[in-house]
């Protein structure tokens, strides 16, 4: 089909048009002659209609008109009684007028269709060029943003090398880790092919890095029970940062001195609501734990972003610590 469309819109040279038209005339006249004894009276143009259509389609309207004119004359001379003359009678004139009407309609339709196909092809080429430019622009944007983020990350790392205080080093490490989370999300979100983001897939890629970058990584076992949770671009960054903060928190506080601590991320989407659970099998929360009064920066970040998502974040002690985030899966609101 595509090749047929391309043939119709291709620019044809005059030589091609003349050659195609001549071939169509010779073939259709020869075929009409060959079929003449077998055909009942009343079919003088039977082989000329396809010749005109094919020529109009493959060689252009002008060639089609030439074939229609020559075949009309040939038919008039040889195949309209009396044969071998350009005789005129009301019957012959009526037949020729019908031929003219049918052939004009055919050629007009073909011409309109070819013009429409040519316009469509131009638009398609323009769209392809725009899409390519868009892709290049996104690539360039992604590289520039990544480079800028890398400059900041390098600064933080160089700063870290010159700091001896352990808490300051940990703070710089945490800042670098958060920067990487933002960078990973940015890479996903600025993918031109992507309209929405499956957070389940994103977390599978992101969280092992978060856990591995922790000093407790060899004492943590991270498991996933995630279904696709598709969120909008506006929701992706806050949601990813909440999950990363909850997992980082669990890694920091739940890891035991001996043996492995299990971390399980569960993600479900139920109708227009998403449920995210981060569960560890550690010692659970302190008795006087109130999330809103916590001095942990990570927890404050998580609570702020939960508010932004118009969701709820609940902490419980159930076989360890369980943090449950529920929020509405929305369309683009902001």
């Amino acid at each position: 089909m595509k090749q047929l469309r391309l043939w119709a819109v291709a620019e044809r040279s005059p030589a091609y048009q003349i050659a195609f038209a001549s071939l169509a005339i010779v073939t259709s006249v020869a075929l009409r002659h060959y079929l003449d004894p077998a055909l009942p009276p009343g079919f003088p143009f039977v082989t000329f209609f396809p010749a005109v259509i094919l020529t109009g389609y493959f060689a252009g309207t002008k060639a089609g008109i030439a074939v229609a004119s020559i075949c009309g004359l040939v038919s008039w001379f040889w195949f309209l009684a009396p044969a071998g003359s350009f005789a005129t009678s009301p019957q012959i004139i009526l037949t020729l007028v019908f031929y003219l009407f049918i052939i004009s309609t055919e050629l007009l339709l073909l011409h309109t269709m070819r013009q429409a196909l040519i316009t469509l092809e131009h638009e398609k080429n323009r769209s392809d060029t725009l899409a390519q430019a868009n892709k290049t622009m996104f690539h360039e944007l992604q590289h520039r943003v990544s480079n800028n983020l890398q400059v900041v990350a390098s600064l933080l790392k160089m700063q870290r090398r010159n700091v001896v205080d352990e808490s300051a080093r940990a703070a710089l490490d945490a800042a670098t880790a958060r920067l990487q989370v933002v960078a990973s999300i940015q890479r996903q979100l600025h993918n031109p092919k992507r309209q929405t983001t499956d957070m389940g897939q994103l977390m599978r890629e992101l969280l092992p890095e978060v856990v591995n970058s922790s000093s407790q990584s060899d004492r943590i076992m991270l498991d996933f029970d995630v279904e696709p949770v598709v969120v909008t671009g506006d929701q992706a960054t806050p949601l990813a940062l909440i999950i990363v903060e909850l997992v980082s928190n669990a890694v920091e506080h739940a890891a035991r001195d001996t043996g492995k601590t299990h971390l399980l991320l569960t993600m479900r989407s139920r109708g227009d609501e998403a449920i995210i659970i981060v569960q560890d099998d550690g010692d659970g929360l302190p008795h006087d734990f109130v999330p809103e009064k916590s001095r942990s920066l990570g927890l404050r970040v998580a609570l702020q972003f939960t508010e932004q998502l118009e969701g709820q974040l609940v902490f419980e002690t159930i076989n360890g610590t369980r943090a449950t985030l529920t929020f509405p899966l929305g369309s683009e609101k902001r």
Partner: protein
Amino acid sequence: MPKTILVQDPDVLISLDLAQTVMEAWPDASVILCRDVPQVVETLTNGQRPNLLILNQSLRSVRGFGLTRLVQHPQTKLLLTGADDGDAAEIAALGWHALDMPFSAAQVRETLHDVCPDMDRRVQSHCNAIGIR
């Protein structure tokens, strides 16, 4: 045997950070810093044979500059920090490595270990021998 590592990045901060991370992995390594690919090409055509090249380039630009031919030496490893997302499979097929920006020191060490398994990925020190081209 002391290693020679070539780091190319137009941004001096990123270059120095990478150089430091490399020197943490191989404290006695020599690091050559280049700002752009023509400098890399000049270094390689002058007979330098780094064990590892860390280039902030995409696969397309590496090919465009004709670096593929220059880094065909079996002892030379290549790590791209500016690769396009879709090129991962092709880079792996060539036996090269890629690292997405922004990368942490741990990620660089991990990748260096994959590239050159003889390095100690936990070692940390300060670099003291960086040659800037």
